[in-house]
Amino acid sequence: MPGQEHAKPQRREDEVPDAPEAPPAAPAGAAVKEGLTDDIDSVLDEIDGVLESNAEEFVRGFVQKGGE
């Protein structure tokens, strides 16, 4: 579904120029929610840096014997 693949970057491009003009009068709840969303993006960025680079090999190599 090519339409869907394009949807996300388009929305991002739209948002960027809007951002400086956005009035900072949003209710506190919305501000917190927005802050959290931003934070998730930065969490993902940080985790990109610590995540095993070859995910497929890492997953394949995690082999355990049963326990208990």
């Binding site: 934070d39 993006d41 969490v43 940080e46 985790i47 995540l51 995690f62 049963g66 326990g67 208990e68």
Partner: protein, 506 residues
């Protein structure tokens, strides 16, 4: 009437050497235990665990399994000289269980203490891998606090609850199964992949659900049962049974861990007190366990034997409301604050899960992990069978703060913690002061050289000048507390003085 009870948690850590999936896990686990024990100045030979009272083939239903008919993996009391097995100064047991390092926490009485000494186990596991990594020429060994490799193998996180022997086992089974089938929505650790070998793509609530095959049984490694009947009380057998719970996931988050043991202790209390009279049995509970686990939207329903159709949350509310009535009826709680904390958090989590699952991020393991995975999925357009999501699931549970993803979230303040790092650090070396763990752990600290062996219910001394070993039984879990023996332990100049003091009635 209270959440207070003698209890403890056992964790088997996943173990791997990066790039070497064929590394021998028994040998590696032995190294993990030995290197830590050596750094603590504790002997780690196989004879240091006293097996005299152990009886893993005793069944709570009243019969004993013939040793010949037991699978070798059930024979946990067979000594193997290559395997390390120690008692730590915090009263815990740290040893090799089959192919994993296992930390069995000391006995505690309250849920916060259970979480504290469980997290101490994670800190000890971390210290162990740090010590190994510092050895020249040693390949790095990683430990993971999870319960499956996603390829068909599972290893356990077990809970232990002391119960009075007089409580009828059929009552325990009837009232506990619906609770255990549904409590995963509160304390599941989350898992990428459906089916024991992750054949299906998707996310599920529990690490363990797919590995259960039956309702009641003695085994823990094959045909895993929702209710495990192993009955080694490690205490006066006429008075107590130890309920050995194998259905839980390993928790990294404090609130989920607190609720796992706290709500279970309350439900057991209601059963012991005869407070649960209605039958909430679920039809086909093993299938129900799995269908609940496979639906993170929490809309999956189960059918009760009385015909009612309910979600897991509905069933949890039944138990919560019963507990509320029970507490109102009985005003004799010696630990009202601890009980209130469990009740308040239980209600808060159930309410949040009902309104907006994601509002439990930072409180409940499976939700917190799901939020991270959904972040990756949304940002990078990943399908559930993408290797990166499976890698996130595994690395989530790495005990190292720089690699473990839950640790990364905690460091960013994205978890709701109940226990401070200082409390965890202290619990690595200090026993709980209100159980026999105080005696056991302090003996190891004060008189380690003369402790010949130890176990849950004994400490055996090799006293200089005595030809025979001196065994001190500690069969009452609430005897041997700091209040009872703390002064004697500190003031005895040597083991002989300690034994004289113990023999003198106070």
């Amino acid at each position: 009437m209270t959440v207070r009870r003698i209890m403890g948690l056992e964790t088997e850590y996943g173990i791997s050497v990066p790039g070497d999936p064929m590394a021998n896990p028994m040998f590696l686990s032995g190294q993990v235990i030995s290197v830590y024990a050596a750094a603590q100045g504790i002997r780690s030979n196989q004879s240091s665990w006293d097996y005299a009272f152990e009886d893993p083939l005793r069944d709570a239903r009243g019969w004993q399994l013939d040793r010949q008919s037991a699978d070798p993996s059930q024979l946990t009391d067979v000594e193997d000289p290559t395997l390390a097995n120690v008692v730590l100064t915090n009263g815990a047991r740290y040893y090799v269980d089959h192919a994993h390092p296992e930390y069995s926490s000391p006995e505690v009485t309250l849920p916060r203490a259970a979480v504290t000494w469980d997290r101490a186990g994670d800190a000890i596991a971390l210290e162990s891998v740090r010590l190994l990594a510092a050895r020249p020429g040693q390949a790095p060994v990683n430990l993971y606090k999870n319960n499956t490799d996603g390829k068909g193998q599972s290893y356990g996180t077990h809970e232990n609850y002391l119960m009075p022997r007089r409580t009828a086992f059929p009552d325990i089974v009837r009232h506990l199964i619906p609770f255990f089938v549904t409590r995963q929505v509160v304390c599941g650790a989350g898992r990428v992949g459906l089916g024991v070998d992750s054949r299906g793509a998707g996310y599920q609530i529990s690490q363990r659900a797919d590995f259960f095959e039956t309702e009641v049984g003695l085994e823990t490694t094959l045909k895993r049962p929702i209710i495990n009947t192993r009955d080694e009380p490690h205490a006066v057998a006429d008075r107590y049974r130890r309920l050995h719970v194998i259905i839980g996931d390993a928790n990294l988050l404090d609130i989920a861990g607190l609720l796992k043991v706290g709500t279970t202790s309350l439900v057991l209390g209601m059963i012991e007190d005869g407070h649960l009279t209605q039958d909430w049995s679920i039809r086909r509970p093993v299938a129900a366990l799995q269908s609940i686990s496979h639906d993170p939207s929490l809309q999956a329903t189960v059918e009760l034997v009385d015909g009612r159709v309910m979600t897991a949350l509905d069933v949890q509310w039944l138990y919560l409301e019963a507990a509320r009535r029970w507490l109102e009826l009985r005003g004799d709680d010696p630990e009202a604050e601890a009980t209130t904390e469990v009740m308040t958090l239980w209600e808060d989590v159930l309410t949040r899960l009902g309104r907006d699952v994601m509002s439990c991020a930072g409180m409940v393991d499976w939700v917190t992990k799901l939020q991270l995975l959904e972040g990756f999925r949304a940002r990078d357009g990943l399908a559930w069978d993408d290797h990166r999501l499976a890698a996130v699931d595994i690395q989530w549970a790495d005990v190292r703060p720089e690699k473990g993803l839950l640790h990364r979230l905690r460091d960013r303040g994205r978890t709701v913690d109940l226990i401070t790092p200082e409390q965890v650090r202290a619990a690595c070396t200090t026993p709980p002061d209100d159980t026999r763990a105080w005696f056991r752990g302090t003996c190891v600290r004060r008189f380690g050289a003369e402790v010949f062996s130890a176990s849950w219910d004994s400490v055996v001394f090799d006293v200089p000048g005595h030809s025979s070993l001196q065994r001190v039984p500690i069969l009452e879990p609430e005897r041997g507390t700091r209040a009872q023996v703390g002064t004697l332990l500190e003031e005895s100049v040597d083991v002989a003085a300690l034994l004289r003091g113990l023999a003198t009635p106070d």
